[in-house]
């Protein structure tokens, strides 16, 4: 009988110690977490429309839906003399290209509103063709005026300001995992 009592007392002691152990092992801890992100939109596609009348070629460039901010530049090549006019277009003497000073953008509805500093289409660029014979009332049998235009994504300086169209990298080479793209 005494053994039974001693065993019961021992078990009670073990239980009491065991119950108190989690409290002794506990440490004060806390944690919090936060996260955020932004979506990168790079798609861009522009369309060019050319209309010819009275020895004048009118070039209109617009941004297709889903286009993120891009700069455009254009120039024409011909054996005849060419003169350029167009609001917002500015010639860079170093390379002969005409740069539209306002970025073009036309994000889709899902992509959100376009930035206030961009517009969906550029003002027309007029290329006037100077032909000596035509000026004298003669029409040459055929002639070529080739218009070339390029776009490049708008890039930003460290302070968030836009790099100007003239200073943008128009020769940036696309990269694939295997190296430069074609």
């Amino acid at each position: 009988m005494k053994k039974t009592h001693a065993l019961a007392a021992f078990l009670a002691l073990v239980l009491a110690v065991t119950v108190s152990l989690p409290g002794a092992w506990a440490y004060f801890t806390a944690n919090v977490r936060a996260g955020g992100g932004r979506t990168v939109q790079l798609q861009n596609q522009t369309e060019i429309t050319e209309e010819f009348a009275d020895w004048n070629k009118q070039i209109t460039i617009t941004a297709a839906s889903g286009t993120q901010p891009v700069y455009v530049r254009a120039r024409a090549y011909s054996t005849y003399g060419l003169t350029y006019t167009g609001e917002g277009w500015q010639r860079r003497d170093a390379d002969g290209w005409y740069y539209y000073q306002t970025p073009l953008a036309n994000p889709s509805e899902a992509q959100g509103a376009a930035p206030a500093w961009a517009q969906p289409g550029a003002a027309p660029l007029n290329v006037h063709i100077t032909v000596e014979g035509a000026q004298q009332g003669e029409t040459p049998e055929d002639f070529d005026v080739v218009v070339v235009y390029e776009t490049t994504p708008v890039t930003y300086n460290a302070d968030g300001s836009r790099v100007s169209p003239e200073a943008s990298d128009w020769n940036a080479q696309l990269q694939t995992n295997g190296g430069a793209a074609q």
Binding site: F28, V32, Q43, Q175
Partner: protein, 277 residues
């Protein structure tokens, strides 16, 4: 004089004196009881003071997430497992006013202010309701960077093929923060603050700026079909994700507490400076 003696010897006066003595005794006992209750009540208030451990993640000087283990019913009972995520935060990722217009796109190449720090909140702060703390603590942060893309089912799925190193969160060390290089992966960086963080104190920043590498604008996937070469922007439509987790632990038995709670062996010198073993 005889009258006074006669009066004092009368049974009525004796009975009156007895009643008065009983009343005096009773009132003096009540007063003693009241005093004892007041005395022990004060002691009782002082003994229910509890220790609380809370922590806040600060972004550009503002708390974005605050948690306090004491506010979780199971926090103390679970010991080392105790934690409470009370305010899942959202990093604003907008540090400079010129970036904050609603229609502004995220500007690749621009340097965004992203100053991240850890605060030991007290009940004087705005975060008191969720994460008040009244003890010194040690903290670490785990920064995770990765890319996700739409999964076509309305959700987002992780894109491990996209390079997390292009998510340029500039981490700051040498100001009390040290990196656990053994825990570093391409996506994860773990930083420990080596000094004890007092209640009300804020650590120096462990990150200061965020910049997405401009190379995302020229990385394409090329495909050829019927002689037509198509270049597709690899990062178009992808979202970069930045997550920060802050862990806090008590300042008593720090080495054992860190080992138990975080699984990391550390040593703490006499000045309280923590070192990674």
């Amino acid at each position: 004089m005889k009258r006074i003696r006669r009066l004092a010897a009368s049974p009525a006066v004796t009975a009156g004196a007895l009643v008065l003595a009983v009343c005096l005794l009773a009132f003096s006992t009540v007063g003693g009881t009241r005093a004892a209750l007041t005395y022990y009540s004060e002691n009782y208030i002082s003994t229910v003071q509890m220790q609380e451990l809370g922590v806040s993640l600060m972004e550009n000087g503002k708390p974005v997430a605050t948690g306090n283990a004491a506010t979780s019913a199971n926090a103390r009972a679970d010991g080392a497992q105790a934690s409470a995520l009370l305010a899942p935060g959202t990093l604003i990722l907008q540090g400079q006013s010129q970036f904050e217009a609603a229609t502004e796109p995220f500007k690749i190449g621009a340097v965004y202010q992203e100053q991240l720090a850890v605060h030991n909140p007290t009940d004087n702060g705005a975060a008191a309701a969720q994460g008040a703390s009244n003890i010194t603590q040690y903290v670490r942060v785990t920064v995770t960077r990765y890319w996700v893309k739409p999964d076509g089912k309305g959700g987002l799925t992780k894109s491990p093929e996209l390079d997390p190193s292009l998510i340029g969160l500039n981490l700051v060390t040498g100001n009390g923060w040290v990196e656990d290089t053994a825990a570093r992966t391409g996506e994860r960086t773990v930083l420990y603050y080596t000094r004890p963080l007092q209640p009300g104190e804020t650590t120096p920043v462990f990150a200061d700026t965020l910049k997405i590498d401009p190379s995302v604008q020229v990385t394409v996937r090329q495909s050829t079909e019927a002689g037509k070469v198509t270049n597709t922007y690899v990062y178009d439509g992808a979202s970069f994700q930045l997550e920060v987790k802050v862990d806090a632990v008590q300042n008593h038995n720090v080495a054992d507490a860190v080992r138990s709670a975080w699984g990391r062996a550390v040593t703490v010198d006499g000045a309280g400076t923590l070192s990674l073993s």
